[in-house]
C-alpha cells in the first residue's frame, strides 16, 4: 500500500489528507464565484429574490438538509468503523447507507426541479413569472439552478466515489492502519454537506 515516493505510511496518510484539504479550499473558491454573484444580486434585487424564494418548497429544502446531515453522520461512522477495525461488511454497510441517503437527496432535488419545470420557473425563454420584478425573479432562479446544480453535480460525483470505496471496503481493503481513500472521501462528502448547509438558508429562507 505504500507508494514508492513516500518514506512511511504516516507520511503518505498526512499527504493524502492535506491534499484533500487543499482541494477543498479550491472547491470553496469554485463555489465562491457563484456566492459572489449571489451576494451582489441579493443586495441589488432583495425584493425580487424574496418573492422568488417563496416559490421554493421550504419543507423539501429542510428535509434535504436533514437527509444530508444524516448521511454525514453515517459517513463519519464508516470512517470510525475503519479506524477501530470493524468487519468489512460493517464499513461497507455504512457506506452504502451514506450512498442511499445521497441518492435520496438527489431524488428530492429532482422532484423540486421537476416542479420548477412544470411551473415555468426555469430561466430562459420559457420562464413565466406571475407578478412584478420578473427579471429579478429570473436572476434568482438562475442562481438557484446554478448553485444547486453545481452542488448536485458534486453529490453525483460523491455518490460514485462512495460506491467505489464501499466496494473496496467490502473486499476488506481498509484497516485501522490504512484507510486513506475512505478518510479523504469522507472529507469530500462532509464538504459537500457544508455547501448545502449554506445554500439552504440563502435560497429557501429569504424572509
Amino acid at each position: 500500500m505504500l507508494r514508492h515516493q513516500f518514506e512511511d505510511a504516516s507520511q503518505q496518510r498526512e499527504s493524502a489528507v492535506l491534499g484533500m484539504w487543499v482541494f477543498l479550499a479550491t472547491e470553496i473558491m469554485f463555489f465562491g464565484g457563484l456566492f459572489a454573484a449571489y451576494t451582489a444580486y441579493r443586495y441589488q434585487y432583495g425584493a425580487g429574490f424574496a418573492a422568488a424564494s417563496h416559490h421554493l418548497n421550504m419543507l423539501l429544502g429542510a428535509a434535504n438538509t436533514a437527509v444530508l446531515l444524516t448521511s454525514s453522520l453515517t459517513m463519519a461512522l464508516a470512517v470510525h468503523a475503519a479506524q477501530v477495525g470493524k468487519k468489512p461488511a460493517h464499513i461497507a454497510g455504512l457506506l452504502v447507507l451514506t450512498m442511499l441517503l445521497g441518492c435520496a437527496f438527489l431524488g428530492i432535488k429532482a422532484v423540486e426541479y421537476h416542479d420548477k419545470f412544470v411551473h415555468h420557473l426555469v430561466p430562459g425563454a420559457s420562464f413565466v413569472w406571475e407578478g412584478t420584478l420578473t427579471r429579478q425573479a429570473e436572476m434568482f432562479y438562475y442562481l438557484y439552478f446554478a448553485m444547486t446544480g453545481l452542488h448536485a453535480i458534486h453529490m453525483l460525483a460523491g455518490v460514485g466515489v462512495v460506491l467505489v470505496v464501499a466496494i473496496l471496503a467490502a473486499r476488506g481493503r481498509y484497516t485501522p492502519q490504512y484507510h486513506n481513500p475512505l478518510e479523504i472521501t469522507g472529507l469530500y462528502w462532509h464538504f459537500v454537506d457544508i455547501i448545502w448547509v449554506f445554500l439552504f438558508p440563502l435560497l429557501y429562507l429569504i424572509a
Partner: protein
C-alpha cells in the same frame, strides 16, 4: 496529525446538535426579524459548519497545518466577497470630492 479516534457518542451528539440547529433555522425563519433573519440563518450555518469541520472532519484533532488550510479557504472566499462588494455597496453613494 495523529490518527485520533473519537467515541461514537461524540458523533451522535454532534448529529443531534446539527438537527437541533436545523430546526432552529426553520423556526427563526417563521419569525420576521427583518435584516436579522439572514444574520441569524447564516450564523447558525456557520455554527453547523464548525461542528462538521471540527468533529466529522476531525480538524479539532488535526495538525496545525490543516487548520491553516481550512482557514485559508474561507478567508479567500471572504476576500472575494468583501472586496467585490466594496464596489456594489458604494455605487449609489454621493460622488466623491464634494
Amino acid at each position: 496529525m495523529s490518527n485520533h479516534i473519537l467515541p461514537i457518542k461524540t458523533y451522535v451528539a454532534v448529529f443531534i446538535a446539527l438537527m437541533v440547529l436545523l430546526a432552529a433555522t426553520v423556526a427563526i425563519n417563521r419569525v420576521s426579524l427583518g435584516e436579522l433573519n439572514i444574520v441569524a440563518a447564516l450564523s447558525i450555518a456557520v455554527v453547523k459548519t464548525f461542528l462538521v469541520v471540527l468533529f466529522f472532519m476531525h480538524v479539532r484533532y488535526s495538525h496545525r497545518l490543516i487548520w491553516i488550510f481550512v482557514g485559508v479557504g474561507f478567508y479567500w472566499l471572504t476576500i472575494l466577497l468583501a472586496l467585490s462588494m466594496t464596489d456594489f455597496l458604494s455605487r449609489t453613494w454621493p460622488p466623491l470630492g464634494r
